[in-house]
Amino acid sequence: MDFGLTEQQEILRRSAREFLEAECPTSLVRETEESADGHSSDLWRKMAGLGWLGIALPEMYGGTGGSLTDQIVLFEEIGRALAPGPMLTSSVLAAQIVLNSGNDSQKESLLSGIISGDLVLTLARGDKLETASVGGGITLSGDSAFVPHAGLANTMICATRPAIGAWPDTTLVLVDAAAEGVLKTPMESIANYPQHLVEFDDVALSTEAMLGEIAEGRQALDQAIQRATVVQCAETLGRAQKVLEMVVEYAGHRVAFGRPIGTFQAVQHRCADLKVAIDSGRMLTYQAAWKVDQDLPAGDEVAMAKAQAGTLSRTATEAGHTIFAGISFTTEHDMQLYSARAKIAEANLGDTGYHLDQLASGMEI
């Protein structure tokens, strides 16, 4: 039993924090929020240069071959810094689907592109996407909402309902984002988070566009979602930890009634409750990552981590807006950057209610 980080992980944590403090101040976060694609290509290139996009991908494609645990150490820092961009979407979710289901040439071209940052992939799913074999090829039809970073992505992985085989069997296909018949409509979202409604109007695909076999994509998709869910928990954890540090620091010097508000137990106890939630989230998230790294069944552990991450987000948001009070209701204050992104993260990859339901199924109730 060892709940500590390795020396290498400690170094990664420190260097990631230093880099992001220098390269991703909240002024950049705000600038990116106002940009059309919610992306900073400069930061993206630098993060790719540090090897962050391939941290848990095989060395043969240019990755560093690290564990999911290594990756979540990094993502705690990403969350802490509110670093924008399709890190989670492209380098975790899409990359893992390709790794799990692609053939050698797909892996070679797509993974090396994802890792270098030259390619951005996203995932479109939902039971309204359908593929059918037509002649020597495939047609894709239907629509998918909440596709993250669709405006930026070069390629979309579509998790579709196959015309043969019983739903929820899944056929995974690769679609060029610029292909004819692909219509992307931005969905105006919290913090201008770039997500789109994507419609596919009988898009013609060659059989080379298939990732894996027809109707056999479910496992590859689920495994990728499981890892991405753990990563999303780590990102939430880092953001909550930063909120705690911000409120503790503020309460230490903000004076009311002749004393720092941090001396009031009403304020202290709110901070203590957030600390309990963070410690809980850390144990649950690292346990889930460890299980995945050990190739052990991790369904319950991942569900517990994400269910808790939702409540952790809310606890952090409430503590932040209560203790900062009036000033945090203004856009000039950074707290709203944290609470807005907390809501995106909470809804992403299943919220607390969804994961409690998964957990109940795991408990066979």
């Binding site: 500590g4 106890h269 901070c271 203590a272 600390k275 144990m283 517990m304 066979e364 109730i365």
Partner: protein, 389 residues
């Protein structure tokens, strides 16, 4: 990160479980809120059998009669004893008094006190709280005055759990009323048979009989002082950190939770579909499953810190606070799900789970042990987060 035990630790756990399966049949397992003298004596007997295998004080050094292992093995033992609902005994001696004597005791004190604790022969109670002193323990008033080669104690201790079962009391008393409050306190071990000690019964809502312990010119020899005179506060606080994981308490509740999940899957007290098939119940069971997992991990985090040589402080408060509140959340949830059946006590043939739910709800009112939940929040904020006092 590694969430596994070592092979050796797993082997120990398997051996321990084999022992528990053989020695602790279901009918001997404690029901929350209805501990009898017979149950307690059964717990003592189990402790003596554990001691014969060198397991009872498994985390103590061998030179003091222990098993020579560490906090992880101690955690494994406590978790399983709790899960098997073995009535608790000896825990103050094993977890608090023994470690204090190892660090601050004289050779004579070590020789005299440690062996009997490790062998499960002696029961201790703790004398910290007083009728006027609780959370602000540093203000305690029980007086110990030096008189030749004796101390003379006058005052009272309150909420003395195990008072009627214990042989000795481990207590704090004021030896220098002029000194600043934490600097005038000393640590003693008092034989409860000493003339002048009397017990006023104080029944607890969980069915235990505790006491107010009165000291009327109680004369203790100098050899009863543990450590340095007037350093008792610091000695006591240091050794309170010895066993902080709380795994016993967690597992005790976890067992009832697991039984409750089974019950909800199988039973429909009012006929119709099993309780767990109600969407609201299903959701609540999953919520508490998450709470139990969190409690377990926070508890093991404390044990792990201790095994790595760190001294958990705010971390122990995080675990303790979470546990106290999770126990209450579970009790309230189970009471709600069972409706009027939840009010049936042990002994009623219609009481679900032998009345454990009604009992655990009373036990869950124990929100103050080792500090109230609000004191733990203060500790987390001030010591853990460095917030100003």
């Amino acid at each position: 990160m590694d969430f596994n035990f070592t092979t050796e630790q797993n082997e120990f756990r398997e051996e321990l479980r084999e022992f528990l399966r053989a020695e602790v049949p279901l009918e001997k397992q404690e029901v929350f809120g209805s501990l009898t003298e017979e149950d307690y004596q059964f717990g003592r007997e189990i402790n003596r059998k554990l001691a014969e295998r060198n397991w009872l004080a498994i985390g103590w050094p061998e030179e003091h009669g222990g098993g020579g292992k560490g906090p992880i093995e101690q955690g494994i033992l406590n978790e399983d004893l709790g899960y098997w609902r073995v009535p608790k005994s000896g825990s103050i001696g094993l977890g608090i008094v023994g470690p204090a004597i190892m660090v601050f005791g004289t050779q004579d004190q070590k020789d005299r006190y440690l062996g009997p604790i490790a062998r499960g022969e002696i029961e201790y109670c703790q004398g910290f709280s007083e009728p006027n002193v609780g959370s602000d323990l540093g203000s305690l008033e029980l007086r110990a005055e030096r008189d030749g080669d004796e101390y003379v104690l006058n005052g009272a201790k309150m909420f003395t759990s195990y008072a009627f079962k214990a042989d000795y009391m481990y207590l704090l008393a004021r030896t220098d009323p002029q000194a600043q409050k934490h600097r005038g306190i000393s640590l003693f071990i008092a034989d409860l048979k000493t003339p002048g000690i009397s017990l006023s019964p104080l029944p607890y809502i969980n069915g235990e009989m505790a006491a107010q312990t009165n000291f009327d010119n109680v004369r203790l020899p100098l050899s009863c002082l543990i450590g340095e005179e007037n350093r008792g506060w610091y000695h006591a606080m240091t050794t309170l950190d010895y066993e902080r994981s709380g795994l016993w308490r967690y597992a005790n509740v976890r067992r009832v939770f697991d039984d409750f999940v089974d019950f909800c899957q199988d039973s429909a007290p009012d006929g119709g579909q099993p309780l767990a098939e109600h969407p609201l119940v299903r959701h609540q069971l999953a919520e508490r499953r998450l709470g139990m997992e969190t409690w377990k991990l926070l508890s093991w985090n404390v044990a792990w810190m201790q095994s790595s040589g760190a001294v958990p402080n705010a971390e122990a408060s995080v675990s303790f606070l979470f546990g106290s509140e999770e126990r209450l959340r579970f009790a309230e949830m189970a009471m709600e799900v069972l409706g009027p059946y939840s009010t049936l006590r042990h002994g009623s043939p219609m009481a679900p789970l032998l009345g454990n739910i009604e009992g655990i709800h009373r036990e869950a009112m124990h929100l103050h042990g080792a500090g109230t939940t609000e004191i733990h929040r203060n500790i987390i904020a001030q010591r853990g987060l460095g917030m100003p006092r």
